[in-house]
């Protein structure tokens, strides 16, 4: 009886308490994030730049993740062309528009977005766990004690290296996708190699390609920023590291989708 009453009053209060609590949590996290962001941008724009760390990160982020990204994205390209062919044949009874549409989708969406998601899971999660472990084992404190700014030494090199890697990987990803789409078109849609390129050229502009790279750069900036933020805020323990990595991957995925929408919307004014 008493338990029932307590549960009842709790149930009445619960949503408000819960909402209030969550609101406070979100707003403190956001304010911490913006403090961190402004500090990072200031550090980024003031010398010195840690070139050696940057090169190391470029190797780890760019070179090491390129193969897996290109491998996975080739399947996405193949699936796209099959889907398009199916739809087009259904609606307009011809595959004439397929190369153009498929290439557009690759440049504008598939290339940058799938690359960003793969980078989030490959690079972002690793970066987060690494910084999180450094944070809870006091390595970050030890850096500060040796007069090294963790922002300059850890975050900025990762930030710049991920942006650059993301752009370069997307260029390769675009090329890989086109290649596989071409192969599929030649094999299944009776295109010749030149025929595919001609059909593609009717629809695509150079703008489609480089605006895709702008997206890649933005995603490349979002991923390390969020991963390192959660890394620095990791709580002690294996559970803490796990939670931090999950939060970082989810926040990154959500942010990438939202940024993709915002950029696509903004770019629509450029056509």
């Amino acid at each position: 009886m008493i338990l029932g009453e307590r549960l009842q009053s709790k149930a009445v209060l619960w949503p408000f308490e819960y909402l209030g609590g969550e609101l406070i949590k979100v707003s403190t996290t956001l304010s911490r994030f913006f403090d961190y962001l402004s500090e990072m941008l200031i550090t980024l724009m003031t010398p010195p730049f840690r070139f050696k760390e940057f090169v190391t990160q470029l190797y780890l982020i760019g070179y090491k993740s390129t193969p897996v990204i290109l491998f996975s994205i080739s399947f996405a390209a193949t699936a796209t062309i099959l889907e398009y062919a199916f739809h087009m044949k259904l609606v307009i009874q011809t595959a004439a528009l397929v190369p153009g549409f498929a290439a557009l989708l690759v440049f504008r969406e598939l290339g940058p977005v799938i690359t960003a998601f793969l980078l989030t899971s490959k690079v972002g999660a690793g970066m987060n766990a690494e910084l999180g472990t450094m944070q809870i084992t006091e390595q970050v404190d030890a850096l500060k004690l040796l007069s090294v700014d963790p922002m300059r030494y850890l975050v900025v090199p990762r930030f710049v290296a991920t942006i650059l890697s993301s752009v370069v990987i997307v260029i390769f990803a675009d090329a890989t996708c086109l290649f596989f789409e071409m192969v599929m078109s030649v094999r299944h849609l009776d295109y010749s190699w030149e025929g595919f390129l001609t059909a593609m050229n009717q629809f695509t502009q150079f703008k489609d390609f480089y605006l895709g790279l702008v997206k890649a750069a933005v995603f490349g900036a979002v991923i390390p920023t969020i991963a390192c933020f959660y890394g620095f805020n990791t709580q002690p323990g294996a559970e803490g590291v796990g939670r931090s990595t999950t939060q970082s991957v989810v926040s990154n995925a959500v942010s990438i989708i939202i940024m993709d929408f915002i950029l696509t919307y903004l770019f629509s004014y450029l056509y």
């Binding site: 472990t133 084992t137 006091e138 030890a142 850096l143 500060k144 004690l145 040796l146 007069s147 700014d149």
Partner: protein, 251 residues
């Protein structure tokens, strides 16, 4: 001269330090004792600015440092070294690189030969050899702690904070490290604060001993003053000291 005045620190609703006041003069070795969780590590981290106190002052050679920005702290920290409770080695760098890390940063003019000489010297001081090329996860915990000690003393800071430098080490190494702390202060006039649970060693090498309990300083004095103390917790800490040792230290 390092002064801590009325320092308070809280985490949320938990008040960890409740008004600590201390003064340590040049070349002095101060031991800080206290039960687990009383805020010893928090005190050290406040002194070097890794945590910011809620109120109170920290004066390093007369300069108030507790309200400095992170940037300004980098200058101050060139004078201070801290050995953390965890080894806190950079685990992507080899043992050698860990010890050389601070040297390269603090003394950019050093030649590679000079760096190598100093690194070897510091590793010798903590009784380590032949591990230069290993990564931290490949050596034992006790070895990691000693590397961490070597990394800190390599840059010869004038103020040294040790957070349980000998916990978990074998008796031989423990003695060596305690001797090292004492020598640093005698030879280089280093000012040291040592958090420790090792009562014998505290009585042996400390100039003064502070006892912390629940965020407050309950005793502060020379080893012989402490031996005469009537504060219950202090007496508990001293319970393991035999009458024989007691009279030796008192005389």
């Amino acid at each position: 001269m390092l002064e801590v005045k009325n320092l308070t620190k809280r985490f949320g609703s938990q008040e960890v330090l409740k008004g600590i006041s201390l003064a340590i003069s040049e070349g002095e070795i101060l031991f800080v004792l206290g039960r687990s969780g009383t805020g010893k590590s928090v005190l050290l981290k406040n002194i070097v600015g890794l945590l910011k106190p809620e109120s109170g002052q920290i004066l390093l050679e007369g300069r108030e440092i507790s309200k400095l920005s992170e940037e300004e702290y980098f200058e101050v920290r060139k004078m201070c070294g801290m050995v953390f409770q965890h080894p806190a080695l950079f685990d992507s760098l080899t043992v050698y690189e860990n010890v050389a890390f601070g040297l390269r940063r603090h003394f950019p003019g050093m030649t590679p030969e000079e760096v190598k000489k100093r690194v070897t010297e510091c590793l010798d001081l903590v009784h380590l050899e032949g591990v230069e090329d290993k990564l931290p996860p490949q050596i034992s915990y006790g070895m990691q702690k000693r590397v961490s000690l070597a990394r800190t003393i390599a840059v010869e800071p004038r103020y040294l904070l040790f957070d349980e430098p000998t916990t978990g080490l074998d008796p031989v190494t423990t003695n060596a490290i305690n001797r090292l702390i004492s020598e640093l202060s005698r030879k280089l006039n280093t000012t040291s604060i040592v958090v420790s649970h090792d009562m014998h060693c505290a009585l042996e090498i400390a100039d003064r001993i502070a006892v912390l309990d629940q965020g407050q300083l309950i005793a502060l004095g020379t080893p012989s003053e402490l031996l005469k103390s009537q504060v219950p917790l202090v007496k508990d800490f001293l319970a393991e000291i035999t009458e024989e040792d007691r009279s030796r230290w008192l005389s």
